[in-house]
Amino acid sequence: MELRLSALTKRFKDFTAVNGVSCAMSGGVYGLLGINGAGKTTLMRMLCTLIPPSEGEITLDGADIFQMGADYRRILGYLPQDFGCYPDFSAEDYLRYIASIKGLSPVVAHRRIDELLHSVGLDSARKKKTKTFSGGMKRRLGIAQAMLNDPHILILDEPTAGLDPNERVRFRNLISALAQDRLVLLSTHIVSDVEYIAGEIFLMKDGEIVHSGSVRELIADMPERVWLCTVPREQAAHLERDYKVANVRLAGGGAQLRILSAEPPFPNAEPAEATLEDVFLSYFGQTGGELE
């Protein structure tokens, strides 16, 4: 199975949300990492056939997904970034309904709902109305609906948004477990969401994929290196202005800075091992690009 995006572009009047994106995905977990407004959601929505591209195409094993229509959506699971449930439906009713529009037979749906409610930890809340659910419970219900049809392609748009750290870890583990034998594309602006589970990460900025590869490859390809240096506190502000500073830790009368730079910022700066967070900072800047 190969999902291929070829010169994919989406324009909304005079604004280009996605610009000439090309990439290919087969099995495993893929991360789409980018700041808010990078075009991730637009790309995801095209992958789910919700909006057609302005140019380019998306193919699954050579067939255009928009031409495939229901055949493509039959193997697709989608958890949107901002999604709702029917407030007066119970979790079980909600999943039954989604199962019906996904084309599952009642018998299969019944079994899958039991399995999924158990695996997302909503067994005890199956009869409760979804309007009583917390944000985390809704997210878990969301992943359950996305998994109902045992999809070959699972698309998760910012699945951990609004979750507390515990739920985020739990969710990550759940996605890892679900990733067996399928293609999972997970979009996020939170580095830790994809750092440990994604086999390949696409860095998206201003509607374009600026770089891609495994965590190791992205770190290796980073145009800057990471340096640790300790300076007096008053000097820290100056350095933050002149360099990309990944972290500042105050200790005693000084400050330890984690600086991204091609050259050592100080003669006594010590090189440090880079992380995906450093890569994110390197590509998207200290503000995460949001103020750029």
């Binding site: 057609p52 229509g69 229901a70 439906f89 309904y97 529009i101």
Partner: protein, 420 residues
């Protein structure tokens, strides 16, 4: 899928309340229909005293009193009624100064209830073409009975020859109206029809309010997916662009039809069961509201026409609400559709007056389908392929066809939507 779409509608508290209101409204219309049939009985404990009963008991008494006048309403029967009325009016008690006029009037009324339908008929038949005179019967002489039926056509022709009427109809249309009047089989048959009368009287109220309330129920059918942000999952599912959309359309149609036929059949069924269905084979011209009508149909046919017209009107309004809901994702706009369709034409007709063009145009609007009794007394004519047809011979079928065309349109509009 359809079951879940209906569940989406009825799981909302507001919609449950609307449903209760519809059930209550039907009950109130039945109650009002039953109460509208009253019978006055002379009170033996008081001189010229009268007490009143209503509902089934009243209907049975009225039917018993009217039995002597049932059958073909011939000149002979009319003469009998005129004579009987004159006899009652000239009873010696009428000269009594001890009894208040109104009390005596009430007492006399008790004795005339057997021919109260004929009195009502004379109130429109034995006056000018567009006039009403409750006391017309009191002024008739036995020999006037011979002119009863000829007066109908004669008055209509006089009306057509008025200068203001001349602008409204072409010569062919005049001939058409005249032909319809002359085609009425006389003498017309009379049987008490109070059950049907109650149905025709209260049905427009039930239909109009039901149309509004149905708009509330249907408004969210399509708009809810966008409001609840469930549309992305809906459209990205296997059947999200076909069967699931069709399930929504089907749910809307099921809701509309179950509600319409359920309410109308319960409403009319209960009224006819309690008040009786006699008079079903009488021509509508035997009723006060049908005497001038150019529709030569029986009361049963009028009832069936009312059902078909109501069905066409409510189906069209419901589907238009669904279309607006599907197109705009706005429940508010969707709710406004029935309101605009029913009230706006009435406001326009009030402002625009009664010119032929305006009247003809307004006659084609769906609000008329909910008021069959009123429309049956209008003279809105249309020429189709050289053939002249009356309003109710076109509009129900026209709106059923439009409704049928709206079904695939609603489906197509919604399945092609891209979620925001």
């Amino acid at each position: 899928m359809t079951r879940f779409e209906l569940k989406k509608i009825f799981s909302r508290r507001i919609n449950q309340i609307v449903l209760l209101i519809i059930a209550g409204l039907t009950a109130v219309c039945i109650f009002m229909g039953l109460n509208a049939v009253s019978y006055s009985i002379p009170d033996e404990n008081a001189e010229y005293g009268v007490r009143h009963i209503s509902g089934r008991a009243a209907a049975m008494r009225l039917r018993a009193d009217a039995a002597q006048y049932e059958g073909p309403l011939t000149e002979e029967t009319l003469r009998r009624i005129i004579e009987e009325n004159a006899r009652l009016k000239s009873m010696p008690q009428a000269q009594s100064k001890d009894v208040a006029d109104i009390a005596y009037e009430n007492y006399i009324y008790c004795l005339t209830q057997g021919y109260k339908d004929i009195r009502a008929l004379c109130a429109v038949a034995c006056t000018g073409f567009q006039e009403y005179d409750y006391y017309a019967l009191d002024r008739l002489k036995p020999e006037d009975a011979d002119r009863f039926y000829t007066m109908r056509t004669q008055q209509m022709l006089e009306w057509l020859n008025l200068p203001e009427s001349a602008k409204l109809f072409t010569q062919a249309e005049r001939e058409f109206i005249k032909g319809r009047y002359e085609a009425l089989e006389i003498p017309i048959t009379y049987h008490p029809y109070m059950g049907w009368d109650a149905v025709f009287d209260k049905a427009p109220t039930l239909l109009m309010i039901m149309t509004f309330l149905l708009g509330f129920l249907l408004a969210e059918l399509f708009a809810c997916e966008s409001r609840l942000k469930t549309d992305a999952i809906f459209y990205s599912s296997c059947h999200g662009r076909k069967k699931a959309v069709w399930a929504k359309v089907k749910a809307g149609l099921i809701l509309t039809n179950v509600m319409y036929w359920g309410c109308m059949l319960v409403f009319s069924g209960v009224l006819l069961l309690i008040l009786g269905g006699s008079g079903w084979d009488c021509p509508v011209q035997v009723t006060i509201g049908g005497w001038k009508s150019l529709y030569n149909i029986t009361i049963l046919q009028k009832y069936l026409l009312l059902l078909v017209c109501g069905w066409a009107g409510i189906s069209f309004t419901a589907l238009l609400s669904m279309l607006v809901s599907a197109r705009t994702n706005s429940a508010t706009l969707s709710v406004a559709v029935p309101f605009l369709l029913i009230f706006l034409p009435q406001i326009v007709s009030g402002v625009a007056g009664s010119s032929s063009a305006v009247s003809g145009l307004l006659g084609l609007l769906p609000d008329h389908l909910l008021q069959v009794s009123v429309v049956m007394n209008t003279f809105n004519l249309y020429t189709l392929g050289g053939k002249i047809l009356a309003e109710l011979e076109i509009t129900p079928w026209l709106y059923l066809i439009i409704s049928a065309l709206l079904v695939p349109l609603v489906y197509t509009v919604y399945r092609r939507r891209n979620p925001a």
